[in-house]
C-alpha cells in the first residue's frame, strides 16, 4: 500500500472540512423552515353569559387574537355582534367598541336593556376581524345557524355552601379498580419524570354492566375491569391526554389533544375490538370534555364555548356540520340539556332546559370554586361535582340537587398524583358516582353510592 503524499492529505482534509460545511448548510436548509415568518391567522376568545339574573346588565366582551405586530402593540381589530331577543327572528347588528383594558376582552358591546332582560333570553353571534390581512372569524363557529343562546336563570334554587372545611372527605363504598403502574395486563401506564411531572391513564368510563373501562393511552390500550377479571384491547392512539367514553353499543370514543404533528384535536371512534371506525377533526381548536349524547359523541369546545356533536348515528360529522349544531348545554337522551356557567370566584349557575328553563340553581361558595367535573340528571335530581380550592388545598364537592335545593352532599378527597384529562375524573353510572384517582403506587377507581332514591 502506497503512503499518501502531503497533497493527498491536504486535499482530503480540505474535502472533509468543505463537506461538513456543505452538509450542515444542506441539512439546515432542508430540515428547518426558512426564517421568513408567515402571518398566523385570527383567533378569538369569548365567554358567553349563558345564564343571566333578572335585571343583570349584559356586556359582551371579546378578545381578538391575531398575528403579533412588529411594534409589539396589540392587534387592531374590529367586529360586530348580531343579536336578537329570544331565539328566533332577525338579528340586529351592533358594532363592537374598543376599550382600554384587555383583561376580559378589549372589544365589547352593551346589550340594549330590552334585549338583555327579554323573558325569552337572547341569542347572538359575532363576526370579528383583525390583523394586517383582515382575517375574519365567526364566534361561535356556527354563526347564525347555531348562535350563542342566553336564558334567564329565573327563580333559581339558592344553594349557599359557605366556607368549605377540608379533610372531611367521604370514604368510597368500594375500590373497584386498583392497578399498579406498569405495562402488564391489569397494570396502568405511567409516563414522565420527577422533573417533568407524571401522566397516567387519562380517562375512564363505566359500562351499563358495571364494568370499568380505563383509557391507558400510555400503553395504547383500553383495559376493562369486570367481576370476571381484566381484559386489554389495543387501540391506536397518540398517547396524549385524551378523554374517553363508551357508547351504549360498545363503541369506544377517544378524544385526542393536538400534538407535535397534528395541531388540531381529533376524535377517534373504535369498535369494541379496538379497530378504528373513523377519525374526525373537531370544529374548534380546543376541547374541555367529551360525553355520550343522545345520538353520538358530543364535545364541549372552544372558542365556541358550546357542546358540538361530532357524530350522529355512528357517522362522523364534518367540521361545518358540527358547528351548525352547537348548543349551550350538554344534551341528554331525555331531550333536555344541562347548562353550566361558573361565574367569578365562587358562583356556579346551573339550569336544566327543555326548550326553556325547567329548573335552575345558583350555588355560591365562600371558598373558591374550580372546574365543574360533572353535571347530569339523576332521576328527578341533578348530580353536580365541582372542585373547591384554596392556594394549597383542594377537594371535590358532590351535590345531589332537587328543585328546592340540596338533597345530599359529600366531599371527595382529590387524589391526583398523575395527570389525567381535565374533566374526566368522575362518571355517573346507575346509582353510583365513580372517581378516577392516582397515588404514587398506582391508579384506582372508587365507587360512591348516591343513597338517594331517584
Amino acid at each position: 500500500m502506497r503512503r499518501p503524499g502531503i497533497r493527498s492529505l491536504a486535499g482530503g482534509a480540505a474535502g472533509i472540512v468543505a463537506g461538513v460545511i456543505g452538509g450542515i448548510a444542506l441539512t439546515s436548509v432542508s430540515a428547518a423552515s426558512g426564517p421568513t415568518p408567515a402571518a398566523p391567522g385570527i383567533d378569538a376568545v369569548h365567554i358567553p353569559p349563558v345564564l343571566t339574573l333578572a335585571g343583570e346588565p349584559v356586556r359582551l366582551r371579546y378578545a381578538i387574537v391575531c398575528a403579533p405586530r412588529d411594534d409589539g402593540e396589540p392587534c387592531d381589530g374590529s367586529g360586530s355582534v348580531f343579536v336578537r331577543a329570544g331565539q328566533s327572528g332577525p338579528f340586529r347588528q351592533l358594532t363592537l367598541r374598543r376599550g382600554e383594558d384587555s383583561n376580559d376582552g378589549r372589544y365589547f358591546v352593551d346589550l340594549p336593556r330590552e334585549v338583555a332582560s327579554s323573558r325569552a333570553g337572547f341569542s347572538y353571534y359575532a363576526v370579528l376581524r383583525g390583523g394586517v390581512n383582515g382575517a375574519e372569524i365567526t364566534v361561535p363557529a356556527g354563526g347564525e345557524a347555531a348562535p350563542h343562546r342566553s336564558v334567564p336563570l329565573g327563580a333559581a334554587a339558592e344553594v349557599p355552601l359557605g366556607v368549605h372545611v377540608f379533610g372531611r372527605g367521604r370514604a368510597p363504598d368500594e375500590r373497584v379498580v386498583a392497578a399498579a403502574w406498569g405495562s402488564e395486563v391489569g397494570q396502568a401506564g405511567l409516563v414522565g419524570s420527577r422533573e417533568l411531572g407524571f401522566v397516567g391513564p387519562s380517562s375512564f368510563d363505566v359500562a351499563t354492566d358495571g364494568s370499568v373501562a380505563v383509557l391507558d393511552q400510555v400503553n395504547t390500550r383500553v383495559e376493562r375491569w369486570s367481576r370476571s377479571g381484566v381484559k386489554a384491547t389495543p387501540v391506536e392512539v397518540s398517547g396524549g391526554l385524551a378523554d374517553f367514553v363508551l357508547e351504549p353499543e360498545g363503541t369506544m370514543d377517544v378524544l385526542e389533544p393536538p400534538n407535535r404533528v397534528s395541531p388540531a384535536p381529533v376524535l377517534r371512534s373504535f369498535r369494541g375490538d379496538g379497530t378504528l371506525r373513523w377519525a374526525q377533526r373537531l370544529s374548534d381548536r380546543t376541547w374541555a370534555k367529551l360525553a355520550a349524547g343522545p345520538s353520538g359523541p358530543v364535545v364541549q369546545q372552544q372558542p365556541s364555548e358550546q357542546w358540538l356533536p361530532v357524530a350522529e348515528h355512528g357517522a362522523a360529522l364534518s367540521r361545518p356540520a358540527q358547528a351548525g349544531h352547537g348548543r349551550i348545554g350538554r344534551p341528554f337522551a331525555s331531550g333536555r340539556e344541562v347548562v353550566v356557567e361558573r361565574v367569578g370566584t365562587g358562583e356556579l349557575r346551573l339550569a336544566e332546559l327543555a326548550g326553556d328553563v325547567v329548573r335552575s340553581w345558583r350555588i355560591t361558595s365562600a371558598t373558591p370554586l374550580g372546574e365543574v367535573q360533572l353535571a347530569e340528571p339523576y332521576g328527578n335530581h341533578l348530580v353536580v361535582v365541582t372542585k373547591t380550592y384554596t392556594d394549597d388545598q383542594s377537594e371535590y364537592v358532590t351535590l345531589v340537587l332537587d328543585r328546592s335545593g340540596v338533597v345530599s352532599s359529600f366531599a371527595v378527597e382529590s387524589l391526583e398524583w398523575a395527570e389525567s384529562a381535565p374533566l374526566a375524573r368522575f362518571r355517573l353510572a346507575g346509582d353510583s358516582l365513580y372517581r378516577l384517582g392516582s397515588t404514587r403506587a398506582g391508579l384506582f377507581v372508587d365507587r360512591f353510592d348516591l343513597e338517594v332514591s331517584r
Binding site: 441539512t27 403579533p68 372546574e371 381535565p422
Partner: protein, 202 residues
C-alpha cells in the same frame, strides 16, 4: 482532487451525523438581536404573541421559533437542550411572552421577536416562587388573562377562563405536546400556584 472529492463525501455524511446536525439545526435560523425596550405591554398583545407560537413545537431550554405553523423538529430527544430544535419550553415561552429581561433585577419590558433565541434565566419553579424583579406570586382565584399557573415542573399562561370553570392555557408542555392551547384545571390543582408579571399596561 480525487482525495478531495472522497473526503468531501465523507464530510457530508459526517455533517448528517447526530452531533453536528444537532448543534446546527433549527437554531441556525435564529438570531441574537437586542430586544426592543417597550413602554407598553398589554394582555391582548401577549395573547397575540403566545398564540402565534402555537404549532411551532417544543424545545427543552429553547426559545426560538418561526411562524410557519410546523414544528421543524418534532422528534427531538425530550429533555435534551443540545437538540436545538424549534420552539420554546414552558418557561422560555413565558419569559418571552412576558417581555422580561435576561437580568433578573430588571423589571422593564423587552420585546423579543420570535426568531430571537433566548430562554431567560427562570425555570418553572423560579416563576412558581416569584423569583425575579418582574414576577410575583398571586392568589389563584384572582389570576386573569395572561397571568400564569406554575408548579415546580411546569408553567402555563391563562389564555382565558371557560364556562366550566377550567382555563384555556397556552403552554409549551412537552416535546410530544408541542406548543398549543389546552383546557386545563391548574387553577384548582394544589401543585400549581398563581404567578403574574408586574407592569401590564392594558
Amino acid at each position: 482532487m480525487k482525495a478531495f472529492l472522497v473526503a468531501f463525501g465523507i464530510g457530508v455524511v459526517l455533517a448528517g451525523a447526530t452531533g453536528a446536525q444537532a448543534y446546527h439545526r433549527f437554531w441556525s435560523n435564529c438570531n441574537y438581536d437586542a430586544p426592543t425596550f417597550m413602554t407598553t405591554m398589554t394582555r391582548d398583545a401577549a395573547q397575540d404573541y403566545a398564540n402565534a407560537a402555537r404549532y411551532e413545537g417544543y424545545q427543552w431550554g429553547g426559545g426560538c421559533w418561526n411562524y410557519d405553523d410546523v414544528d421543524s423538529y418534532p422528534y427531538d430527544t425530550p429533555g435534551d437542550p443540545s437538540a436545538h430544535g424549534e420552539g420554546g419550553d414552558c418557561s422560555g415561552l413565558t419569559f418571552k411572552t412576558w417581555r422580561e429581561s435576561t437580568d433578573d433585577w430588571r423589571d422593564g419590558r423587552y420585546y423579543w421577536r420570535a426568531l430571537r433565541n433566548v430562554h431567560g434565566p427562570y425555570t418553572a419553579g423560579d416563576f412558581r416562587n416569584g423569583v425575579g424583579a418582574p414576577n410575583h406570586v398571586i392568589g389563584k382565584a384572582t389570576a386573569g388573562v395572561m397571568d400564569a399557573f406554575a408548579s415546580s415542573t411546569h408553567i402555563g399562561m391563562i389564555f382565558t377562563r371557560s364556562l366550566y370553570g377550567g382555563d384555556q392555557i397556552v403552554e409549551a408542555k412537552c416535546e410530544a405536546c408541542g406548543t398549543n392551547i389546552f383546557y386545563r384545571t391548574y387553577r384548582s390543582d394544589p401543585s400549581y400556584g398563581g404567578v403574574a408579571r408586574w407592569g401590564w399596561t392594558g
